[in-house]
């Protein structure tokens, strides 16, 4: 039900403003519902509890890092000194906000160990596009326009090939070994004088750290190409290693993942990019600089250009800055340690309970994969059915059917903010659902059974896209 549908009274009458010139006066009634405050409060409270969110539910959505967002980040970023400032405010009147943006650039430089940062990209995907455009411009300046290809492993996030394509590159896909590592021979074969870059996620989307990363980066650099780091899985490595020592030249970070700003169903996101020294001048504008103790907006002359009208999503950037300061250096290291510990704990528990883990012998990073292929063959129950049944137990399902290398899979990422109790509870529910799959598969086939909305017709939804209520 939409809030307008509660409206049963007369339309709201607004007092006429005396001196308003006639041509600016509204002709008809304004379409706001005339309803009471409790009706409004109840409407939105009801809506909010229909939603699955990290504030109400365990949310182990792999590759998305749905960690808890500390409320203090929100309340501080909502202070009028931040929230009410106009992006075009003169620099001398917005030094506080500029200082925070500058400091955040410096912090991200330190965490990634790269040489320069731009906070401009308004999402991880926009960061990727910016990175690819930098690659393009760098080689154009070097008169190496022959480099038209970007190499991407088959397990990559779908945004990688999309960004490369959008920046005008051809995508060369290379396969992954059965154990999840990159196939080095195939990589070497794929490299040619046309290679501009490789885009990698490390740890990969399979939840595994690429052991040959140094050899890979040496091989790519020897061919004169660049390495792009998809920072989606940065939550696994903070303070332990960094993209710069792995040999990467460009990285985007997802503040809405690693740095606990809101995402999922709106965000807005923020995908700052960081680069090595030789690519510094290509960063998207603006960057924030410090001069004589004051902070200024600066434009790189050789920049790929602007991505957003002003500074990017500043409210989100402030939240991420507060989160980084809350954690501190040691705290961020601990974030990654506990994220990896939680994932390995959950993986081991599920393995002991008889679930099929992808590469069970290997330590996983902050996420791992289980496959229901065997269960599907035995009972007809799919990963999708299990995901829907988890909703009945008030758990947001993990990522399903990604990466597509492992059939009938879940990609599970518990994050560091979950307690042992919560993880144990998840294992118990998974065991219960597994038993249900054997004894009463229909329960899963029809799930969710206990929610307001039942199984949706995804085929119809995809074919007859309707985004309006």
């Amino acid at each position: 039900m939409l809030i307008n549908q509660y409206h049963q009274n007369q339309p709201i009458k607004y007092p006429k403003i005396k001196d308003l010139p006639r041509q600016y006066a509204r002709d008809g009634v304004i379409g706001l519902p005339n309803i009471s405050e409790p009706q409004v409060v109840r409407h939105y409270t009801r809506l909010s509890v229909k939603n699955f969110s990290i504030d109400g539910n365990f949310y182990p959505l792999g590759s998305c890092t749905m960690k808890y967002n500390p409320k203090v980040c929100h309340s501080l970023a909502s202070l009028p000194e931040f929230a009410d400032i106009h992006p075009q405010t003169p620099e001398n009147l917005s030094q506080g906000t500029l200082e925070i943006l500058y400091n955040l650039q410096e912090d991200l430089k330190q965490i990634t160990n790269m040489d320069a940062v731009s906070l401009a990209p308004a999402a991880g995907s926009q960061g990727e596009l910016a990175g690819c455009l930098i690659i393009k411009k760098y080689f154009a300046d070097k008169n190496e326009t022959i480099r038209t290809q970007i190499i991407i492993p088959d397990a990559a996030h779908g945004t990688n090939p999309a960004s490369a394509k959008m920046a005008g590159f051809d995508v060369i896909q290379i396969p992954t070994c059965e154990n999840g590592d990159l196939k080095l021979d195939d990589l070497k074969q794929a490299i040619s004088e046309k290679t501009a870059a490789i885009m990698l996620t490390n740890p990969s989307t399979l939840g595994l750290f690429e052991p040959n990363i140094i050899e890979i980066s040496k091989t790519i650099h020897a061919a004169g190409a660049l390495l792009y780091y998809d920072g989606a899985n940065l939550n696994a490595i903070m303070g332990k290693t960094n993209p710069a020592i792995m040999g990467f030249d460009i990285i985007h970070t997802n503040l809405h993942k690693t740095f606990a700003t809101p995402h999922g169903g709106g965000g807005p996101g923020a995908g700052p990019i960081a680069v090595c020294a030789k690519l510094k001048d290509y960063l998207p504008n603006p960057v924030i600089i410090k001069k004589d103790g004051e902070y200024h907006k600066a434009d790189n002359k050789n920049s790929i250009g602007k991505l957003t009208a002003n500074f990017g999503n500043v409210g989100v950037l402030i939240r991420a800055y507060i989160y980084i300061k809350l954690c501190g250096n040691e705290g961020l290291k601990r974030v990654s340690e506990i994220a990896v510990l939680n994932a390995n704990y959950l993986k081991t528990k599920l393995e002991q309970a008889g679930f099929d883990i992808f590469q069970p012998k290997k330590l996983c990073s902050h996420e791992f994969i289980i496959s229901f292929n065997k269960l599907k063959k035995e009972t007809g129950v799919t990963a999708f059915d299990i995901a829907k049944r988890l909703l009945d137990y008030n758990i947001h399902p993990p990522t399903v059917y990604f990466p597509s290398l492992v059939p009938e899979c879940f990609l599970i990422e518990p994050t560091e903010t979950e307690s042992k109790q919560e993880l144990d509870n998840f294992v118990e529910i998974m065991i219960k659902i597994n038993e249900e799959a054997q004894n009463n598969p229909d329960l899963l086939k029809n799930a969710p059974n206990n929610l307001k909305l039942k199984r949706l017709d995804e085929l119809k939804a995809a074919k007859e896209l309707n985004l309006r209520f």
Binding site: Y401, S404, L459, A462, K463
Partner: protein
């Protein structure tokens, strides 16, 4: 069981060799199962010359988007336009109404490398 009168390749396409060096191409029942409900297909253009293993079409399902690779080199001589409005036909009848395209083969040697039905059946049982 997979139809015994067709040839296959590892990327789950079936190939029917017709007269005049022509071949009809679709995806196997197994592939359609793996993809789940198909919601969109981007067909190749008529008269395009394609090389074996080129990506020539895109199939999108509720689960994933997947490229279709040319199982043989040749020229596209027909595409199943009906699939544009009813891509779910591939799920319903992958070996019949769900055919995707026809190719005029220009290198007959490539046909010898395709899988026989028993070989293909064995390869999907391994998965």
């Amino acid at each position: 069981m997979v139809p015994t009168d067709l040839l296959y390749n590892k990327s789950h396409e079936w190939i029917q060799i017709n007269d005049n060096d022509e071949a009809t191409i679709g995806i196997s029942h197994h592939a359609a199962e793996l993809l789940g409900d198909i919601v969109f297909i981007e067909l190749p253009s008529l008269d395009d010359e394609v090389k074996i293993e080129d990506d020539i079409a895109v199939i999108e399902s509720v689960k994933t988007a997947s490229d279709l690779y040319a199982p043989l080199s040749g020229k596209i001589i027909a595409v199943n336009q009906k699939l544009e409005d009813n891509p779910e036909t591939i799920n319903e009848d992958p070996y019949g109404e769900g055919w995707i395209m026809k190719i005029k083969i220009n290198n007959k040697d490539e046909v010898d490398d395709l899988l026989k039905s028993a070989e293909y059946q064995a390869s999907i049982e391994e998965d």
